[in-house]
C-alpha cells in the first residue's frame, strides 16, 4: 500500500521565520511528488517534482526531491501571516495520487 507521511503535523511560527516541511513517501511506480497549499477551500498547486536534486522556487517558497532517500522538503522563508494554511504533499503513480495528512502551519504576527 502506498504511503505518504508528512511532518510535523502542525507548526506555529512568528512572521519572518523560516520553516521546513517534510514529506517522505513509499509509492509503487513513483512518477512525481506534488505540494499543495490548502486554506479554507480547495487545495491550490505549488510544485511538481519529478527529478532528484533539482530545486523548484516560487518567490519565498522552494522545494526539492530526493528520490534515493524518498523524501521531499518544502521551505518557506520570511514567513507571512498569509502563509498560514495546511500544506499537503502527494506522491503520484499513474492515476493515483496518495496524499499525506498535511502540515498545519500557523504564522503569528
Amino acid at each position: 500500500e502506498d504511503k505518504v507521511v508528512q511532518s510535523p503535523l502542525s507548526l506555529v511560527v512568528h512572521e519572518g521565520d523560516t520553516v521546513t516541511l517534510n514529506c517522505s513517501y513509499e509509492v509503487t511506480n513513483f512518477r512525481s511528488l506534488l505540494w499543495y497549499k490548502q486554506e479554507k477551500k480547495a487545495p491550490t498547486f505549488l510544485f511538481m517534482l519529478t527529478s532528484s536534486g533539482i530545486e523548484k522556487k516560487s518567490g519565498r517558497l522552494s522545494s526539492i526531491l530526493d528520490k534515493k532517500e524518498l523524501f521531499s522538503i518544502l521551505n518557506i522563508t520570511a514567513t507571512q501571516t498569509g502563509d498560514s494554511a495546511v500544506y499537503l504533499c502527494s506522491g503520484g503513480s499513474n492515476y493515483k495520487l496518495t496524499f499525506g495528512k498535511g502540515t498545519l502551519l500557523t504564522v503569528n504576527p
Binding site: 477551500k41 487545495p43 511538481m48 492515476y95
Partner: protein, 113 residues
Amino acid sequence: NAGVTQTPKFRILKIGQSMTLQCAQDMNHNYMYWYRQDPGMGLKLIYYSVGAGITDKGEVPNGYNVSRSTTEDFPLRLELAAPSQTSVYFCATQLDVTNSPLHFGNGTRLTVT
C-alpha cells in the same frame, strides 16, 4: 473561466437518504477524480475516470458510485447515506496523468445525521 464546479456547496442528509454530488469541468481534461477529506486525514481517493465511459475504484469506494457519460461531468452518487460519509468531497481534474497537477473544485461539505 469556471474551471471545476461542484454543487451543492453544503448538504445535510438523513441516514439512509441518497444524493448526487455534481462535478462539471470546462477544461477538456480527460482525467477526473473524487476525493474525500476528513479532518486531519488528508485526501482519500474514492473513484477516478480516465475518460468518458471509463471509471475505476480508488482507495475508499464503498458506499459510492460514479458515472462518466461525457468529458465534462463526473457525478458521485451516495446510496443509503451513513454517518461515516460525513466529510468534505473534492472533485479534481488533470490534463496529463504524468506531468500536470490536479485542479480542484471548491468542495461539497456533506453532513449525514
